[in-house]
């Protein structure tokens, strides 16, 4: 066999081995990056879980100790051991047990609750969780197992042979290798050629009876050639491309922490099953790639914030709370948190809480009632769950001719002022407020609201109306807890509401603090839809035949709900992708060295790209949704029946018929650069990117 150094992928290796089968006795395989791959930006991240465990121990005696300091101590311990081996004339290799022994000593722990063996076990188990067989390699090894060749693995690694066997078995290489040679035990390395010499001696082989296959040109190819062996460099275009990207990102990350998020995001950290699903389903792929990181990061930050602020109860409001609470439960099932707040999905929305806050109808209430695309008296009454039919006669006596006429300036409307001043109107409102307040009190009691001292409303956004209405309805009561609000974005579109005392926090965008991390607030409907629960809008509460207080839903025959039903499958696809991403995120969480806050900037940058410069495919897929309150181009508008004189149907689109995501419509035209022009024009017009 010639001593050339071919660069081969799995198929080439298969062909070469089949051709050389008769002249070979033993085939040696490198382990890391040849037999197995790891879903980590860099192999050094595999040291993080053990470092985190030791950091927790260090915090008992030294609360200021950081993760990076602990990791630095490990690197020092490894360097010391390697130097000692070199001084003895050996290859500078060390065993994980010795490394951990030196490491723990260097940290000067007063009383360690974790043993060296447990730390070793932790590192191996973590490594197993992110390791997988190189595509095609397991099939090749299984095929070779049927031949008369002896297969061995060879590795320059601080793990023991037994640990590498376990790692390989975890990746599906069960009973494939007759022997293993590991530098940490033999104290000889591949790159010096000593380890290969050891194999030849141990196996009683001539140099042409052994071939070694590995990815590293220095250790696997040049090292083997020092002993006269034939070595083939394993090269896979996709794997090499990932490595190149990651090493580039690593250099960037050292200069700017923004790229920490990119390292994890660009890695395709998804499990094989999830990535296969993404390959078959483009909507799933887009949601997995962009919305998954966004929502997972948001909920993880909410958990950290609620612990920091000692919140005792989190209420995930209908209907967006469905996905958020699912993510919350998923994250808490895998992340160890001391005393996490209790959490419930709560059937609280504007309709179910507004009425209870109607102590009077003043400017606040009018703004809430008329803050809609179609500000009519009917819509205001419906918003407050007031009886439209009962109040219609009173409205006519106050001067209204039509409940569906738009009131452009409600505060100045003479008819409205007359209606609000009527004692009968006030009496009806007060009766409804009292009933609603009683029902809401009971419902909140079932959630443990009154037992908590601090409660937070969690929602995607946007104006904190539920939180504000709860505060107005119950804030004066002594037993009412402090009510906080954690929102993805707090837009504060209504002027009279939400003074700073309401404790709102927009995590990615906060209008009240002029704080913004991106453009995603420009198309909030996408995020609302992505979180939506599979039930109709809540309109209030009622008592069921069993005597239980249960939510009452909007009529399922309504046009809006029919449209939502049509979208349900796509919404479920989006949500499945987000939850799958979260699972993958949790797999890699023990290895991440930064906080969720560190990753937000890059995640929002990605979402920003999606919203400002969508591809045609993204635009087509994400504007499929036909939300009843307006969504992209597929805005659903059902004109009210206006028969009779003076009610001619207009052929012009209604005022509120607007495109919510113009960038998508531009992308659909397929003209390159048009979206860049649009964004530039928008920047010049609004003077804000």
């Amino acid at each position: 066999m010639s001593r050339h150094k071919p660069q081969s992928n799995v198929e080439d290796i298969r062909s070469r081995l089949l051709a050389a089968e008769n002249s070979l006795k033993v085939v040696s395989f490198d382990v890391f990056d040849t037999l197995i791959q790891r879903s980590l930006p860099h192999p050094d991240y595999s040291k993080t879980p053990a470092a985190k465990a030791l950091l927790a121990e260090c915090h008992h005696s030294n609360p200021d100790m950081t993760l990076h300091a602990v990791l630095h101590q490990r690197n020092l311990a490894e360097s010391t051991l390697r130097s000692q081996a070199a001084e003895q004339g050996l290859d500078p290799e060390c065993h994980i047990r010795d490394v951990f022994g030196h490491w723990v000593s260097a940290l000067e722990l007063q009383s360690a609750n974790i043993s060296i063996e447990e730390l070793m076990e932790l590192e191996l188990a973590s490594d197993q969780a992110v390791s997988f067989a190189t595509p095609g390699m397991r099939e090749l090894i299984e095929e070779l197992s049927g031949f008369r060749l002896k297969l061995v693995f060879t590795s320059d690694m601080y793990y023991s042979k037994a640990m590498i066997y376990r790692l390989l078995e975890g990746c599906g290489y069960v009973g494939c290798f007759a022997e293993g040679y590991v530098s940490s035990e033999i104290k000889k390395a591949k790159y010096s050629g000593e380890l290969f010499g050891h194999i030849l001696l141990t196996e009683h082989l001539a140099s042409d009876e052994l071939v070694h296959i590995g990815d590293n040109i220095a250790a696997d190819v040049h090292g083997a050639q020092k002993c006269g062996l034939t070595a083939w460099q394993f090269r896979d275009t996709q794997i090499e491309s990932n490595h190149t990207t990651q090493s580039f990102l690593r250099r960037l990350r050292n200069k700017n922490p923004f790229w920490e998020g990119a390292s994890w995001h660009g890695l395709n950290v998804g499990s094989t099953a999830h990535l296969q699903r993404a390959a078959h389903d483009p909507l799933y792929r887009i949601s997995f790639q962009y919305l998954g990181p966004l929502f997972t990061n948001f909920v993880h930050r909410v958990i950290r914030l609620s612990i920091e602020q000692e919140t005792q109860l989190l209420l995930f409001c209908a209907r967006e709370g469905f996905l958020l609470q699912s993510l919350y439960s998923l994250i808490l099932s895998r992340v160890s948190v001391t005393n996490p707040p209790a959490a419930h999905y709560a059937f609280l929305n504007r309709k179910s809480v507004y009425t209870a806050s109607l102590h009077s109808i003043g400017p606040r209430e009018l703004e809430m009632g008329f803050h809609t695309t179609n500000p009519t008296l009917r819509n205001m009454l419906v918003r407050f769950s007031l009886p439209v039919d009962e109040l219609a006669d009173l409205a006519i006596t106050a001067g209204f001719t039509d409940l569906d006429s738009q009131l452009t300036n409600p505060l100045e409307s003479a008819q409205l002022k007359r209606l609000l001043a009527k004692p009968q109107f006030k009496a009806i409102v007060e009766t409804h407020r009292r009933n609603s307040s009683e029902q809401l009190t009971d419902y909140l009691d079932s959630l443990g609201f009154w037992q908590a001292s601090r409660v937070a409303i969690v929602d995607v956004g946007w104006n904190g109306t539920v939180q504000e209405a709860l505060s107005v309805a119950f804030g004066a009561q002594s037993e009412c807890p402090e009510i906080y609000g954690y929102y993805m974005a707090f837009l504060k579109r209504m002027s009279s509401q939400l003074q700073p005392a309401f404790n709102c926090r927009g995590i990615y965008h906060d209008q009240s603090n002029c704080f913004s991390l991106g453009a995603f607030h420009r198309f909030v409907e996408l995020f609302e839809t992505a979180c939506r629960a599979p039930h109709p809008t809540v309109s209030g509460f009622c008592v069921n035949p069993k005597g239980e207080l249960v939510p009452e839903f909007e009529d399922i025959a309504s046009e809006g709900y029919k449209q939502e039903k049509a979208d349900e499958r796509w919404v479920a696809t989006v949500q499945a992708a987000i939850l799958d991403y979260c699972e993958d995120y949790l797999e890699t969480l023990p290895f991440r060295q930064g906080s969720p806050e560190d990753e937000s900037a890059y995640i929002l940058y990605q979402v920003d790209r999606l919203l400002r410069f969508p591809t045609r495919e993204e635009a087509d897929l994400l504007t499929r949704f036909g939300h009843s309150e307006g969504f992209g181009q597929s805005l659903v508008y059902v004109p009210a029946e206006r028969d009779g004189p003076g009610h001619e149907k207009s052929t012009r689109p209604p005022k509120h018929h607007r495109v919510l995501w113009p960038e998508a419509e531009i992308a659909k035209k397929g003209i390159a650069g048009l979206n860049h022009l649009f964004n530039a024009a928008r920047l010049l017009k609004t003077r804000r990117y």
């Binding site: 099953a273 078959h280 419930h344 999905y345 039930h535 839903f553 499958r569 696809t573 949500q575 499945a576």
Partner: protein, 171 residues
Amino acid sequence: MWQYEQLESRLAGLCGQKEDAQSRYPHHPLVNELQQRITSASSSLSSAASADGNAHFSHCMMVAFNLNRCEAIMDQLDAEQGTGPVTEVCLDRRILALARDKVFVRWLAAQLSSLRGGLLRYTCRYRSPPLSEALALISVQRLDRNGWLLRLLRKLKSRIKGGNTHPARDQ
């Protein structure tokens, strides 16, 4: 109880569709997900039956979500069958049935003899077992680098769909 009975009947319907999908696309990743979602929906439905109040609704929502995703998967599978790329799942029972036909096998052997590279080696390795088994073992993604097998299978598929029992009889 919100939609409980409706969810129950939807789940039963999807279980039947799942069986069909499993037999048609045994190794499809979306079919694996389908199985997981149905198991999850079934478990949530049982929990919903024994829960009251808020917990009952929460379980029902999880059932509805999983069923909606199952329906989306069925849509996706149907779309793939109609217009998507031909993969190994297309070597289904109908093609294998054709492969057992001697006339068809001769026709296919003539087609295969003109092929190069990986497939020739592959078919040689599986010369001893019947060709139908060899066909079943062929992984389209692994061998079809130039797209010829894809085109061949598309042609076969369109002929099967067009009503011809096998292409050899056209000649």
